[in-house]
């Protein structure tokens, strides 16, 4: 935590992108203050209005204000991606640590499972899972967790194996340290930074995959606003009302850019090695 606060001062990029990411979250959180329209309030008389001062992003086929939908949609899109990253991180890392620390049969089983999941185009697996268990935000998150956890399991396992070779681990063991104590005090602090960097760098990519699932109809269900689903709706009116598709897409694009830049900057703060090569 201290490193982050310090990084805020020393790394201008990191400070800038953190502020931008927070602004994004704030826009989602304070959506009611930024627009007076309701995202699901239909107004059939004003359907398919092009962008204007009154409706910044125009209106859709039900006359719903597109700007309000993009703003409120940020809640679904951002909440789901943050939840997804947290879940993948927790599940993958926990399995990887257990695998690396215990070794033996547990390790073999978990890694074999990871091999199976990874030897497989992840997006397709997610589509299949989300499609079968039914479209919803939670199911999309579960599906992408299934497809992504092996990456974190493998990474954390290899990190644990590396740290385990250090003599201070043996010393801690000889001193009577319990496995839990050794994991918490000696192993976790050493492997967390790299894992956090990986997770931060993945936010953008996972956001794209979540949006893709929503676009296919396997994510947040209408009429709730969500960017991927909005593009899917707008797609049917590509010819007459392109704004319905352009603005939610831009929202995804800008958010992903911000999170990707933030992820890069975070790596510079936490990992002083120059990886720009």
């Amino acid at each position: 935590m201290g490193e982050l606060v310090q990084g805020f001062r020393t790394h201008k990029n990191f400070a800038l992108f953190t502020v931008l990411a927070l602004l994004l979250l704030a826009a989602a959180l304070f959506a009611p203050l930024l627009t007076s329209y309701q995202p699901t309030a239909a107004d059939m008389k004003n359907a398919f209005l092009p962008p204007s001062a009154e409706h910044l992003f125009g209106t859709d086929k039900l006359g719903r204000d597109c700007f309000a939908r993009v703003l409120y949609g940020a809640r679904n899109s951002l909440a789901s991606v943050l939840l997804l990253v947290a879940l993948v991180f927790t599940v993958g890392t926990a399995l990887g640590i257990v695998s690396g620390y215990l070794g033996g049969k547990t390790d073999a089983v978990i890694m074999r499972l990871a091999d199976i999941f990874i030897s497989f185009p992840g997006v397709l697996l997610a589509i299949a899972i989300a499609g079968i268990i039914g479209g919803s935000m939670v199911n999309a998150i579960i599906a992408l967790t299934c497809a992504t956890w092996p990456k974190y399991a493998r990474l954390s396992r290899s990190l644990v194996l590396k740290v385990k070779q250090n003599e201070y681990i043996a010393a801690a063991y000889v001193n009577g340290g319990t496995p839990f104590h050794i994991l918490r005090r000696h192993i976790l602090p050493n492997i967390l930074p790299l894992l956090v960097i990986t997770a931060a760098a993945d936010i953008g990519a996972l956001m794209l995959e979540l949006a893709g699932l929503s676009f296919l109809g396997f994510g947040v269900q209408p009429p709730a606003p969500e960017w991927g689903a909005m593009i899917s709706e707008g797609r049917q009116h590509l010819q007459t009302a392109p704004w319905l598709m352009i603005f939610p897409g831009l929202a995804i694009f800008i958010s992903v850019v911000i999170f990707n830049l933030w992820g890069d900057a975070l790596r510079d703060v936490l990992d002083p090695r120059d990886d720009q090569e």
């Binding site: 074999r112 997006v123 299949a128 079968i132």
Partner: protein
Amino acid sequence: MHLRTFGKYLAQAFVTLVGISFIMFSITMIGTEDLARQLITGAEDVIVSQEEIDAVTRELGLDQPFFVQFGHWLVNAAQGDLGFSYMAKKPVIDKILECLPATVSLAALSLFLMTLLSVPLGILAAYHKNKPLDFLIRGVTFFGISVPGFWLGLMLLWLFGLKLGLFPIVSSTIRWDTIFLPALTLAISMTSKYTRQVRSAVLEELGQDYVMGARARGMSELRILTREVLPNALLPLITLYGLSIGSLLGGAAVVEIVFGWQGLGLLAVKAIEYRDIRLLQGIVVWIAGMYMIINILVDLSYALLDPRLRKKEVRHG
């Protein structure tokens, strides 16, 4: 390549395929309670008699325990029989083979475009490290990896298909003008990733001592690049090439839908909507199999291209 190593690869691939089949099978069984009815009705809302349901249940052995069902499916699948698709009204394997050319041609063209763009761009960026050209290329690729593929596809469709009328809007048959936009969409995001990887692979080699040695001996830069740097940088890039193919096979689904491209991805989504479980299982296992074969080929090419690996194998094998 040693026969024993090859056999080990195949055995591993086989175990993984069975594992994938098992996972797919379990998910479909959990997710669908009334499979027989769903297989008959699909997405439509028609009334089915109990006799019909019972007949299908018996025919497919759906009344048997899970493991018996899985065993049957596996034994049949090993013989090339992936079951019957109620949506397509033909065997699953026939439907898959019908859609395969579209997916393969799309993947091949986008890989070709990706290679054509990313290799020169990556090399250029590496040679101009931290100069304006490098920043420009890195900036463009950064935007390329941040843009949603399906949205990019729609924008291209809107611009080139609707506004300019250069390309057809629906790409139901495989022709050069129908394949170009979907291939370009896939190629843009892949090129963005790959260019960065080419850049770092080339930079890695440029920093090696042998490059300095070659320069000291007065070798021309072009010769150093083509004779020394590229062959060495090729190895890590081939692995990533294999990975790109994997992401193409799965990730193309969304782009296939945008363009109405009749490939395996679109078929998978249709199968889900229709609840055609057998078809979905078949597609997933089929794609997993293709992906695995590609990965084996990548590993094999490694052994062929890297003399060090070849030697090691002789020693241990």
